[in-house]
Symmetry: C2
Subunit: 287 residues, 2 copies
Protein backbone atom coordinates (compact mmCIF):
# COMPACT_ATOMS: atom_id res chain seq x y z
CA UNK A 1 0.00 0.00 0.00
CA UNK A 2 1.26 3.44 -0.97
CA UNK A 3 -0.07 6.76 0.29
CA UNK A 4 -1.30 8.74 -2.68
CA UNK A 5 -2.59 12.26 -3.26
CA UNK A 6 -4.83 13.28 -6.11
CA UNK A 7 -5.19 16.97 -7.04
CA UNK A 8 -8.09 17.65 -9.39
CA UNK A 9 -10.72 14.90 -9.33
CA UNK A 10 -12.71 16.16 -12.34
CA UNK A 11 -14.36 14.27 -15.20
CA UNK A 12 -11.09 12.53 -16.00
CA UNK A 13 -9.43 12.65 -12.59
CA UNK A 14 -12.27 11.18 -10.54
CA UNK A 15 -12.38 7.78 -12.29
CA UNK A 16 -8.57 7.73 -12.47
CA UNK A 17 -8.36 8.28 -8.69
CA UNK A 18 -11.00 5.62 -8.08
CA UNK A 19 -8.97 3.15 -10.14
CA UNK A 20 -5.89 4.01 -8.04
CA UNK A 21 -7.92 3.38 -4.88
CA UNK A 22 -9.05 0.08 -6.39
CA UNK A 23 -5.40 -0.99 -6.13
CA UNK A 24 -5.77 -0.80 -2.32
CA UNK A 25 -3.93 2.49 -1.87
CA UNK A 26 -4.54 5.17 0.74
CA UNK A 27 -5.91 8.30 -1.01
CA UNK A 28 -5.67 11.99 -0.05
CA UNK A 29 -7.57 14.36 -2.27
CA UNK A 30 -7.78 18.07 -2.97
CA UNK A 31 -10.48 19.57 -5.15
CA UNK A 32 -10.95 23.30 -5.81
CA UNK A 33 -14.71 22.70 -5.54
CA UNK A 34 -15.09 20.50 -2.45
CA UNK A 35 -18.10 18.62 -3.87
CA UNK A 36 -15.91 17.24 -6.66
CA UNK A 37 -14.05 15.19 -4.04
CA UNK A 38 -17.22 13.68 -2.54
CA UNK A 39 -17.34 10.45 -4.62
CA UNK A 40 -13.75 9.76 -3.58
CA UNK A 41 -14.45 10.54 0.09
CA UNK A 42 -17.45 8.20 -0.09
CA UNK A 43 -15.06 5.53 -1.36
CA UNK A 44 -12.70 6.08 1.59
CA UNK A 45 -10.42 8.95 0.53
CA UNK A 46 -9.62 11.83 2.87
CA UNK A 47 -10.18 15.39 1.60
CA UNK A 48 -7.81 18.26 2.42
CA UNK A 49 -8.08 22.03 2.15
CA UNK A 50 -5.03 22.62 -0.05
CA UNK A 51 -2.71 20.80 -2.47
CA UNK A 52 0.13 21.26 0.07
CA UNK A 53 -1.82 19.47 2.84
CA UNK A 54 -2.85 16.56 0.60
CA UNK A 55 0.71 16.24 -0.75
CA UNK A 56 2.16 16.15 2.78
CA UNK A 57 0.38 12.82 3.38
CA UNK A 58 1.61 11.10 0.21
CA UNK A 59 4.55 9.37 -1.43
CA UNK A 60 3.13 9.88 -4.93
CA UNK A 61 1.08 12.94 -5.87
CA UNK A 62 -1.09 12.97 -8.99
CA UNK A 63 -2.44 16.14 -10.60
CA UNK A 64 -5.04 16.32 -13.32
CA UNK A 65 -6.28 19.86 -13.93
CA UNK A 66 -7.26 21.94 -16.94
CA UNK A 67 -4.39 23.99 -18.26
CA UNK A 68 -0.83 25.22 -17.70
CA UNK A 69 -1.70 28.01 -15.19
CA UNK A 70 -3.79 25.55 -13.15
CA UNK A 71 -0.88 23.12 -12.86
CA UNK A 72 1.45 25.99 -11.92
CA UNK A 73 -1.03 27.04 -9.20
CA UNK A 74 -1.56 23.58 -7.66
CA UNK A 75 2.13 22.64 -7.77
CA UNK A 76 3.96 25.92 -7.12
CA UNK A 77 1.28 28.38 -5.85
CA UNK A 78 1.09 29.73 -2.29
CA UNK A 79 -0.68 26.56 -1.09
CA UNK A 80 0.86 24.34 -3.74
CA UNK A 81 2.25 20.82 -3.58
CA UNK A 82 5.83 22.12 -3.33
CA UNK A 83 5.05 23.52 0.16
CA UNK A 84 3.86 20.15 1.50
CA UNK A 85 5.48 17.34 -0.43
CA UNK A 86 8.33 15.48 1.24
CA UNK A 87 11.72 15.15 -0.43
CA UNK A 88 11.77 11.80 -2.24
CA UNK A 89 8.13 12.00 -3.27
CA UNK A 90 7.07 11.88 -6.93
CA UNK A 91 4.64 14.27 -8.64
CA UNK A 92 2.84 12.77 -11.65
CA UNK A 93 1.08 15.46 -13.70
CA UNK A 94 -1.52 13.91 -15.95
CA UNK A 95 -2.92 17.20 -17.25
CA UNK A 96 -2.32 18.23 -20.88
CA UNK A 97 -0.18 21.37 -20.68
CA UNK A 98 2.83 23.14 -22.16
CA UNK A 99 5.99 21.02 -22.55
CA UNK A 100 8.27 23.96 -21.82
CA UNK A 101 6.35 25.00 -18.68
CA UNK A 102 6.53 21.34 -17.61
CA UNK A 103 10.32 21.35 -17.86
CA UNK A 104 10.51 24.51 -15.73
CA UNK A 105 8.23 23.08 -13.05
CA UNK A 106 10.16 19.81 -12.99
CA UNK A 107 13.37 21.78 -12.40
CA UNK A 108 11.74 23.79 -9.57
CA UNK A 109 10.51 20.61 -7.87
CA UNK A 110 13.85 18.84 -8.37
CA UNK A 111 15.42 21.71 -6.39
CA UNK A 112 13.27 20.54 -3.43
CA UNK A 113 14.20 16.88 -3.91
CA UNK A 114 10.84 16.10 -5.56
CA UNK A 115 10.78 14.13 -8.82
CA UNK A 116 8.22 15.10 -11.47
CA UNK A 117 6.84 13.05 -14.32
CA UNK A 118 4.60 14.45 -17.04
CA UNK A 119 2.09 11.76 -17.95
CA UNK A 120 -0.70 13.14 -20.16
CA UNK A 121 -3.25 10.65 -21.34
CA UNK A 122 -5.41 9.87 -24.32
CA UNK A 123 -8.51 7.72 -24.41
CA UNK A 124 -11.05 10.13 -22.93
CA UNK A 125 -13.53 9.69 -20.08
CA UNK A 126 -14.32 6.16 -21.26
CA UNK A 127 -10.65 5.18 -21.05
CA UNK A 128 -10.37 6.83 -17.62
CA UNK A 129 -13.34 4.85 -16.29
CA UNK A 130 -12.25 1.52 -17.76
CA UNK A 131 -8.58 1.99 -16.84
CA UNK A 132 -7.49 1.71 -20.47
CA UNK A 133 -5.88 5.11 -21.03
CA UNK A 134 -2.78 5.56 -23.16
CA UNK A 135 -0.20 7.36 -21.01
CA UNK A 136 2.74 9.26 -22.54
CA UNK A 137 5.44 9.74 -19.95
CA UNK A 138 8.31 12.22 -19.69
CA UNK A 139 10.91 12.21 -16.91
CA UNK A 140 13.47 9.94 -15.29
CA UNK A 141 13.23 6.19 -15.93
CA UNK A 142 13.74 5.45 -12.24
CA UNK A 143 10.83 7.67 -11.24
CA UNK A 144 8.64 5.97 -13.85
CA UNK A 145 9.72 2.54 -12.58
CA UNK A 146 8.57 3.55 -9.06
CA UNK A 147 5.10 4.67 -10.19
CA UNK A 148 4.50 2.25 -13.08
CA UNK A 149 2.40 -0.16 -10.95
CA UNK A 150 0.17 2.83 -10.17
CA UNK A 151 -0.07 3.92 -13.82
CA UNK A 152 -0.98 0.32 -14.69
CA UNK A 153 -4.14 0.81 -12.58
CA UNK A 154 -5.23 3.64 -14.92
CA UNK A 155 -3.88 2.77 -18.34
CA UNK A 156 -2.88 0.06 -20.74
CA UNK A 157 -0.40 1.57 -23.17
CA UNK A 158 2.27 3.33 -21.09
CA UNK A 159 5.18 4.68 -23.15
CA UNK A 160 8.28 6.34 -21.71
CA UNK A 161 8.90 8.96 -24.41
CA UNK A 162 11.92 10.73 -22.90
CA UNK A 163 12.98 13.34 -20.34
CA UNK A 164 10.76 15.85 -18.56
CA UNK A 165 8.34 17.42 -21.03
CA UNK A 166 8.61 14.57 -23.56
CA UNK A 167 5.24 13.16 -22.52
CA UNK A 168 3.65 16.56 -23.17
CA UNK A 169 5.48 16.78 -26.51
CA UNK A 170 4.02 13.40 -27.52
CA UNK A 171 0.57 14.59 -26.46
CA UNK A 172 0.94 17.77 -28.52
CA UNK A 173 2.04 15.64 -31.49
CA UNK A 174 -0.98 13.40 -30.94
CA UNK A 175 -3.38 16.35 -30.98
CA UNK A 176 -1.79 17.73 -34.16
CA UNK A 177 -2.09 14.42 -36.03
CA UNK A 178 -5.64 13.87 -34.80
CA UNK A 179 -6.70 17.38 -35.86
CA UNK A 180 -5.31 17.08 -39.37
CA UNK A 181 -6.63 13.56 -39.90
CA UNK A 182 -10.06 14.44 -38.50
CA UNK A 183 -10.41 17.49 -40.74
CA UNK A 184 -9.20 15.54 -43.79
CA UNK A 185 -11.82 12.85 -43.17
CA UNK A 186 -14.55 15.48 -42.64
CA UNK A 187 -13.63 17.29 -45.87
CA UNK A 188 -13.53 14.05 -47.83
CA UNK A 189 -16.86 12.70 -46.60
CA UNK A 190 -18.44 16.11 -47.09
CA UNK A 191 -17.09 16.22 -50.65
CA UNK A 192 -18.60 12.77 -51.30
CA UNK A 193 -21.97 13.88 -49.94
CA UNK A 194 -21.97 17.08 -52.00
CA UNK A 195 -21.11 15.03 -55.10
CA UNK A 196 -24.18 12.87 -54.45
CA UNK A 197 -21.96 9.86 -53.81
CA UNK A 198 -22.63 7.47 -50.91
CA UNK A 199 -20.13 8.66 -48.27
CA UNK A 200 -20.34 5.30 -46.47
CA UNK A 201 -19.06 3.57 -49.62
CA UNK A 202 -16.25 6.10 -49.90
CA UNK A 203 -15.27 5.48 -46.27
CA UNK A 204 -15.19 1.74 -46.98
CA UNK A 205 -13.19 2.14 -50.18
CA UNK A 206 -10.62 4.27 -48.32
CA UNK A 207 -10.28 2.20 -45.14
CA UNK A 208 -8.03 -0.47 -46.61
CA UNK A 209 -5.51 1.83 -48.30
CA UNK A 210 -3.16 4.67 -47.41
CA UNK A 211 -6.08 6.85 -46.30
CA UNK A 212 -6.90 4.29 -43.62
CA UNK A 213 -6.80 5.47 -40.00
CA UNK A 214 -8.42 5.01 -36.62
CA UNK A 215 -10.07 8.41 -37.19
CA UNK A 216 -11.56 7.35 -40.55
CA UNK A 217 -12.85 4.20 -38.88
CA UNK A 218 -14.31 5.70 -35.67
CA UNK A 219 -14.91 9.39 -36.35
CA UNK A 220 -15.76 8.78 -40.00
CA UNK A 221 -18.60 6.56 -38.81
CA UNK A 222 -19.68 9.20 -36.24
CA UNK A 223 -19.86 11.74 -39.06
CA UNK A 224 -21.99 9.45 -41.22
CA UNK A 225 -24.28 8.83 -38.22
CA UNK A 226 -24.14 12.55 -37.27
CA UNK A 227 -23.57 11.32 -33.71
CA UNK A 228 -21.55 13.99 -31.93
CA UNK A 229 -21.80 12.68 -28.37
CA UNK A 230 -18.25 13.03 -26.99
CA UNK A 231 -15.79 11.32 -27.28
CA UNK A 232 -13.50 14.29 -27.19
CA UNK A 233 -15.05 17.72 -26.93
CA UNK A 234 -14.28 20.34 -29.58
CA UNK A 235 -13.60 22.84 -26.76
CA UNK A 236 -10.91 20.64 -25.21
CA UNK A 237 -9.25 19.79 -28.51
CA UNK A 238 -9.14 23.53 -29.22
CA UNK A 239 -7.41 24.14 -25.88
CA UNK A 240 -4.87 21.36 -26.53
CA UNK A 241 -4.20 22.66 -30.05
CA UNK A 242 -3.53 26.11 -28.58
CA UNK A 243 -0.74 24.56 -26.50
CA UNK A 244 0.63 22.55 -29.43
CA UNK A 245 0.59 25.52 -31.82
CA UNK A 246 2.25 27.88 -29.32
CA UNK A 247 4.96 25.31 -28.69
CA UNK A 248 5.51 24.59 -32.41
CA UNK A 249 5.62 28.28 -33.30
CA UNK A 250 8.10 29.02 -30.53
CA UNK A 251 10.39 26.49 -32.23
CA UNK A 252 9.96 28.09 -35.66
CA UNK A 253 7.88 25.30 -37.20
CA UNK A 254 5.61 26.25 -40.11
CA UNK A 255 2.14 25.68 -38.61
CA UNK A 256 -0.02 27.06 -41.44
CA UNK A 257 -1.60 23.69 -42.19
CA UNK A 258 -2.37 22.53 -38.66
CA UNK A 259 -3.57 26.03 -37.78
CA UNK A 260 -6.11 25.85 -40.61
CA UNK A 261 -7.37 22.53 -39.23
CA UNK A 262 -7.37 23.88 -35.65
CA UNK A 263 -9.37 26.92 -36.80
CA UNK A 264 -12.14 24.66 -38.07
CA UNK A 265 -12.28 22.76 -34.77
CA UNK A 266 -12.32 26.08 -32.87
CA UNK A 267 -15.21 27.21 -35.06
CA UNK A 268 -17.14 24.07 -34.05
CA UNK A 269 -16.71 25.17 -30.42
CA UNK A 270 -17.57 28.82 -31.09
CA UNK A 271 -20.25 28.57 -33.78
CA UNK A 272 -21.95 25.24 -33.00
CA UNK A 273 -21.27 23.79 -29.52
CA UNK A 274 -17.97 23.22 -27.74
CA UNK A 275 -19.43 20.29 -25.82
CA UNK A 276 -19.90 18.28 -29.02
CA UNK A 277 -17.38 15.71 -30.16
CA UNK A 278 -14.77 17.32 -32.42
CA UNK A 279 -16.01 15.18 -35.31
CA UNK A 280 -18.80 17.79 -35.57
CA UNK A 281 -16.34 19.56 -37.87
CA UNK A 282 -18.19 17.50 -40.51
CA UNK A 283 -21.36 19.43 -39.61
CA UNK A 284 -19.52 22.76 -39.74
CA UNK A 285 -18.27 21.94 -43.26
CA UNK A 286 -21.81 20.96 -44.25
CA UNK A 287 -23.24 24.40 -43.50
CA UNK B 1 -10.16 -14.73 -74.00
CA UNK B 2 -11.27 -11.17 -74.49
CA UNK B 3 -9.80 -8.67 -76.96
CA UNK B 4 -8.50 -5.72 -74.96
CA UNK B 5 -7.06 -2.31 -75.79
CA UNK B 6 -4.78 -0.34 -73.51
CA UNK B 7 -4.25 3.39 -74.08
CA UNK B 8 -1.30 4.84 -72.16
CA UNK B 9 1.19 2.16 -71.08
CA UNK B 10 3.23 4.42 -68.76
CA UNK B 11 4.81 3.72 -65.38
CA UNK B 12 1.46 2.57 -64.01
CA UNK B 13 -0.19 1.41 -67.24
CA UNK B 14 2.57 -0.86 -68.49
CA UNK B 15 2.56 -3.32 -65.55
CA UNK B 16 -1.25 -3.13 -65.44
CA UNK B 17 -1.45 -4.08 -69.13
CA UNK B 18 1.09 -6.87 -68.62
CA UNK B 19 -1.06 -8.26 -65.78
CA UNK B 20 -4.10 -8.16 -68.10
CA UNK B 21 -2.10 -10.07 -70.74
CA UNK B 22 -1.11 -12.55 -68.03
CA UNK B 23 -4.80 -13.52 -67.93
CA UNK B 24 -4.45 -14.82 -71.48
CA UNK B 25 -6.14 -11.90 -73.22
CA UNK B 26 -5.41 -10.48 -76.65
CA UNK B 27 -3.92 -6.97 -76.23
CA UNK B 28 -3.98 -3.94 -78.56
CA UNK B 29 -2.00 -0.97 -77.41
CA UNK B 30 -1.64 2.71 -78.22
CA UNK B 31 1.16 4.85 -76.76
CA UNK B 32 1.79 8.51 -77.60
CA UNK B 33 5.51 7.69 -77.52
CA UNK B 34 5.80 4.44 -79.51
CA UNK B 35 8.73 3.15 -77.41
CA UNK B 36 6.47 3.06 -74.33
CA UNK B 37 4.52 0.22 -75.99
CA UNK B 38 7.63 -1.87 -76.72
CA UNK B 39 7.61 -4.04 -73.57
CA UNK B 40 3.98 -4.93 -74.33
CA UNK B 41 4.71 -5.67 -77.98
CA UNK B 42 7.62 -7.86 -76.85
CA UNK B 43 5.11 -9.73 -74.67
CA UNK B 44 2.79 -10.28 -77.65
CA UNK B 45 0.64 -7.14 -77.82
CA UNK B 46 -0.07 -5.36 -81.10
CA UNK B 47 0.66 -1.62 -81.31
CA UNK B 48 -1.59 0.79 -83.24
CA UNK B 49 -1.15 4.35 -84.45
CA UNK B 50 -4.18 5.88 -82.71
CA UNK B 51 -6.56 5.24 -79.82
CA UNK B 52 -9.38 4.78 -82.37
CA UNK B 53 -7.54 1.98 -84.19
CA UNK B 54 -6.61 0.14 -80.99
CA UNK B 55 -10.18 0.50 -79.68
CA UNK B 56 -11.63 -0.89 -82.91
CA UNK B 57 -10.01 -4.25 -82.12
CA UNK B 58 -11.31 -4.57 -78.57
CA UNK B 59 -14.31 -5.40 -76.43
CA UNK B 60 -12.87 -3.62 -73.39
CA UNK B 61 -10.70 -0.51 -73.69
CA UNK B 62 -8.52 0.64 -70.81
CA UNK B 63 -7.05 4.12 -70.54
CA UNK B 64 -4.42 5.25 -68.05
CA UNK B 65 -3.03 8.69 -68.86
CA UNK B 66 -1.97 11.74 -66.87
CA UNK B 67 -4.75 14.25 -66.52
CA UNK B 68 -8.24 15.30 -67.55
CA UNK B 69 -7.28 16.84 -70.93
CA UNK B 70 -5.29 13.71 -71.82
CA UNK B 71 -8.30 11.48 -71.21
CA UNK B 72 -10.51 13.85 -73.20
CA UNK B 73 -8.00 13.65 -76.08
CA UNK B 74 -7.61 9.85 -76.13
CA UNK B 75 -11.34 9.19 -75.71
CA UNK B 76 -13.02 12.03 -77.62
CA UNK B 77 -10.25 13.68 -79.71
CA UNK B 78 -10.01 13.52 -83.53
CA UNK B 79 -8.37 10.07 -83.35
CA UNK B 80 -9.99 9.13 -80.08
CA UNK B 81 -11.53 5.89 -78.87
CA UNK B 82 -15.06 7.11 -79.68
CA UNK B 83 -14.22 7.01 -83.40
CA UNK B 84 -13.17 3.34 -83.32
CA UNK B 85 -14.91 1.58 -80.47
CA UNK B 86 -17.83 -0.67 -81.31
CA UNK B 87 -21.25 -0.20 -79.70
CA UNK B 88 -21.44 -2.56 -76.74
CA UNK B 89 -17.78 -2.12 -75.82
CA UNK B 90 -16.72 -0.84 -72.40
CA UNK B 91 -14.20 1.92 -71.72
CA UNK B 92 -12.45 1.64 -68.33
CA UNK B 93 -10.59 4.84 -67.48
CA UNK B 94 -8.03 4.19 -64.75
CA UNK B 95 -6.50 7.67 -64.83
CA UNK B 96 -7.04 10.05 -61.90
CA UNK B 97 -9.06 12.93 -63.31
CA UNK B 98 -11.97 15.28 -62.68
CA UNK B 99 -15.21 13.60 -61.54
CA UNK B 100 -17.38 16.11 -63.39
CA UNK B 101 -15.43 15.76 -66.66
CA UNK B 102 -15.76 11.99 -66.23
CA UNK B 103 -19.54 12.25 -66.05
CA UNK B 104 -19.61 14.33 -69.24
CA UNK B 105 -17.39 11.89 -71.12
CA UNK B 106 -19.47 8.92 -69.94
CA UNK B 107 -22.59 10.65 -71.28
CA UNK B 108 -20.90 11.32 -74.64
CA UNK B 109 -19.79 7.68 -74.96
CA UNK B 110 -23.19 6.39 -73.86
CA UNK B 111 -24.65 8.30 -76.81
CA UNK B 112 -22.57 5.99 -79.06
CA UNK B 113 -23.65 2.84 -77.22
CA UNK B 114 -20.33 2.64 -75.33
CA UNK B 115 -20.32 2.09 -71.57
CA UNK B 116 -17.73 3.92 -69.49
CA UNK B 117 -16.43 3.10 -66.05
CA UNK B 118 -14.13 5.34 -64.05
CA UNK B 119 -11.73 3.14 -62.14
CA UNK B 120 -8.87 5.16 -60.61
CA UNK B 121 -6.43 3.22 -58.50
CA UNK B 122 -4.29 3.58 -55.45
CA UNK B 123 -1.30 1.50 -54.47
CA UNK B 124 1.36 3.03 -56.71
CA UNK B 125 3.80 1.43 -59.13
CA UNK B 126 4.44 -1.37 -56.67
CA UNK B 127 0.73 -2.22 -56.53
CA UNK B 128 0.51 -2.03 -60.32
CA UNK B 129 3.39 -4.49 -60.73
CA UNK B 130 2.17 -6.92 -58.10
CA UNK B 131 -1.49 -6.72 -59.18
CA UNK B 132 -2.58 -5.53 -55.76
CA UNK B 133 -4.05 -2.11 -56.57
CA UNK B 134 -7.11 -0.73 -54.84
CA UNK B 135 -9.62 0.18 -57.56
CA UNK B 136 -12.47 2.65 -56.94
CA UNK B 137 -15.16 2.18 -59.56
CA UNK B 138 -17.92 4.47 -60.80
CA UNK B 139 -20.53 3.48 -63.40
CA UNK B 140 -23.19 0.87 -64.02
CA UNK B 141 -23.10 -2.33 -61.95
CA UNK B 142 -23.67 -4.43 -65.10
CA UNK B 143 -20.66 -2.90 -66.83
CA UNK B 144 -18.53 -3.53 -63.74
CA UNK B 145 -19.77 -7.16 -63.59
CA UNK B 146 -18.57 -7.62 -67.20
CA UNK B 147 -15.06 -6.30 -66.56
CA UNK B 148 -14.57 -7.43 -62.95
CA UNK B 149 -12.56 -10.54 -63.93
CA UNK B 150 -10.20 -8.20 -65.79
CA UNK B 151 -9.91 -5.78 -62.84
CA UNK B 152 -9.16 -8.78 -60.63
CA UNK B 153 -5.98 -9.29 -62.70
CA UNK B 154 -4.78 -5.82 -61.65
CA UNK B 155 -6.15 -5.25 -58.18
CA UNK B 156 -7.26 -6.77 -54.95
CA UNK B 157 -9.66 -4.32 -53.32
CA UNK B 158 -12.25 -3.40 -55.96
CA UNK B 159 -15.10 -1.25 -54.63
CA UNK B 160 -18.13 -0.15 -56.63
CA UNK B 161 -18.62 3.34 -55.18
CA UNK B 162 -21.57 4.50 -57.31
CA UNK B 163 -22.53 5.96 -60.68
CA UNK B 164 -20.22 7.49 -63.28
CA UNK B 165 -17.72 9.78 -61.59
CA UNK B 166 -18.11 8.16 -58.15
CA UNK B 167 -14.80 6.33 -58.53
CA UNK B 168 -13.07 9.65 -59.22
CA UNK B 169 -14.87 11.22 -56.26
CA UNK B 170 -13.54 8.45 -54.00
CA UNK B 171 -10.06 8.99 -55.39
CA UNK B 172 -10.28 12.74 -54.74
CA UNK B 173 -11.44 11.96 -51.19
CA UNK B 174 -8.52 9.57 -50.82
CA UNK B 175 -6.00 12.21 -51.89
CA UNK B 176 -7.50 14.78 -49.50
CA UNK B 177 -7.32 12.43 -46.50
CA UNK B 178 -3.82 11.30 -47.40
CA UNK B 179 -2.60 14.91 -47.78
CA UNK B 180 -3.96 16.04 -44.43
CA UNK B 181 -2.80 12.95 -42.57
CA UNK B 182 0.65 13.08 -44.16
CA UNK B 183 1.15 16.74 -43.29
CA UNK B 184 -0.10 16.17 -39.73
CA UNK B 185 2.39 13.35 -39.25
CA UNK B 186 5.22 15.45 -40.72
CA UNK B 187 4.41 18.41 -38.45
CA UNK B 188 4.18 16.18 -35.38
CA UNK B 189 7.45 14.33 -35.98
CA UNK B 190 9.17 17.60 -36.84
CA UNK B 191 7.86 19.14 -33.59
CA UNK B 192 9.24 16.15 -31.66
CA UNK B 193 12.63 16.52 -33.32
CA UNK B 194 12.79 20.26 -32.63
CA UNK B 195 11.88 19.58 -29.00
CA UNK B 196 14.84 17.23 -28.75
CA UNK B 197 12.50 14.30 -28.20
CA UNK B 198 13.04 10.94 -29.94
CA UNK B 199 10.58 11.13 -32.84
CA UNK B 200 10.63 7.33 -33.21
CA UNK B 201 9.30 6.98 -29.65
CA UNK B 202 6.60 9.54 -30.40
CA UNK B 203 5.57 7.61 -33.51
CA UNK B 204 5.33 4.43 -31.41
CA UNK B 205 3.39 6.12 -28.62
CA UNK B 206 0.89 7.47 -31.17
CA UNK B 207 0.45 4.35 -33.32
CA UNK B 208 -1.91 2.53 -30.94
CA UNK B 209 -4.33 5.40 -30.32
CA UNK B 210 -6.56 7.80 -32.24
CA UNK B 211 -3.55 9.26 -34.08
CA UNK B 212 -2.86 5.82 -35.57
CA UNK B 213 -2.95 5.52 -39.36
CA UNK B 214 -1.37 3.72 -42.27
CA UNK B 215 0.42 7.01 -43.05
CA UNK B 216 1.89 7.28 -39.53
CA UNK B 217 3.04 3.68 -39.86
CA UNK B 218 4.53 3.76 -43.37
CA UNK B 219 5.29 7.40 -44.16
CA UNK B 220 6.15 8.21 -40.55
CA UNK B 221 8.89 5.59 -40.77
CA UNK B 222 10.03 7.00 -44.15
CA UNK B 223 10.36 10.43 -42.54
CA UNK B 224 12.41 9.05 -39.64
CA UNK B 225 14.63 7.23 -42.16
CA UNK B 226 14.64 10.28 -44.46
CA UNK B 227 14.00 7.80 -47.27
CA UNK B 228 12.08 9.66 -49.97
CA UNK B 229 12.24 7.07 -52.73
CA UNK B 230 8.70 6.99 -54.15
CA UNK B 231 6.20 5.62 -53.24
CA UNK B 232 4.01 8.42 -54.51
CA UNK B 233 5.70 11.43 -56.06
CA UNK B 234 5.05 14.90 -54.63
CA UNK B 235 4.46 16.13 -58.21
CA UNK B 236 1.66 13.61 -58.81
CA UNK B 237 -0.01 14.17 -55.45
CA UNK B 238 0.04 17.90 -56.25
CA UNK B 239 -1.69 17.24 -59.57
CA UNK B 240 -4.34 15.04 -57.92
CA UNK B 241 -4.93 17.62 -55.19
CA UNK B 242 -5.47 20.26 -57.87
CA UNK B 243 -8.33 18.13 -59.21
CA UNK B 244 -9.77 17.47 -55.75
CA UNK B 245 -9.59 21.13 -54.70
CA UNK B 246 -11.17 22.39 -57.92
CA UNK B 247 -13.98 19.90 -57.53
CA UNK B 248 -14.53 20.69 -53.84
CA UNK B 249 -14.49 24.44 -54.44
CA UNK B 250 -16.95 24.15 -57.31
CA UNK B 251 -19.33 22.56 -54.78
CA UNK B 252 -18.81 25.36 -52.23
CA UNK B 253 -16.84 23.29 -49.72
CA UNK B 254 -14.50 25.21 -47.37
CA UNK B 255 -11.08 23.97 -48.51
CA UNK B 256 -8.83 26.23 -46.42
CA UNK B 257 -7.39 23.35 -44.40
CA UNK B 258 -6.69 20.89 -47.21
CA UNK B 259 -5.36 23.74 -49.37
CA UNK B 260 -2.81 24.56 -46.66
CA UNK B 261 -1.69 20.92 -46.65
CA UNK B 262 -1.68 20.78 -50.46
CA UNK B 263 0.46 23.94 -50.57
CA UNK B 264 3.16 22.24 -48.50
CA UNK B 265 3.18 19.20 -50.81
CA UNK B 266 3.34 21.53 -53.84
CA UNK B 267 6.31 23.29 -52.24
CA UNK B 268 8.09 19.94 -51.94
CA UNK B 269 7.66 19.57 -55.71
CA UNK B 270 8.70 23.16 -56.49
CA UNK B 271 11.40 23.85 -53.91
CA UNK B 272 12.94 20.42 -53.33
CA UNK B 273 12.19 17.77 -55.97
CA UNK B 274 8.83 16.67 -57.41
CA UNK B 275 10.16 13.19 -58.05
CA UNK B 276 10.57 12.56 -54.32
CA UNK B 277 7.96 10.73 -52.29
CA UNK B 278 5.43 13.19 -50.85
CA UNK B 279 6.62 12.28 -47.35
CA UNK B 280 9.50 14.68 -48.11
CA UNK B 281 7.13 17.30 -46.69
CA UNK B 282 8.94 16.34 -43.45
CA UNK B 283 12.16 17.65 -45.00
CA UNK B 284 10.47 20.85 -46.17
CA UNK B 285 9.22 21.50 -42.62
CA UNK B 286 12.72 20.83 -41.30
CA UNK B 287 14.29 23.66 -43.32
Amino acid sequence: MTSLAFIGPGIMGRPMALNLMGGGHDMHVYARRAEAAEPLVAAGARAWGSPAEAAAQAEVIFSCVSDTPDVEEVLLGAQGVVHGARPGSVVVDMSTISPSATREMAARLAGQGIEMLDAPVSGGEQGAVSGTLSIMVGGKAEALARVRPLLDLMGRNIVHVGDNGAGQVAKACNQIVVAQTLVGVAEALQLARREGVDAARVREALLGGFAGSKILEVHGQRMLDENYTPGFKARLHTKDLGIALAEAESLGLDVTAVRAAADLIRRVAEEIDGELDHSAVFRLLGE
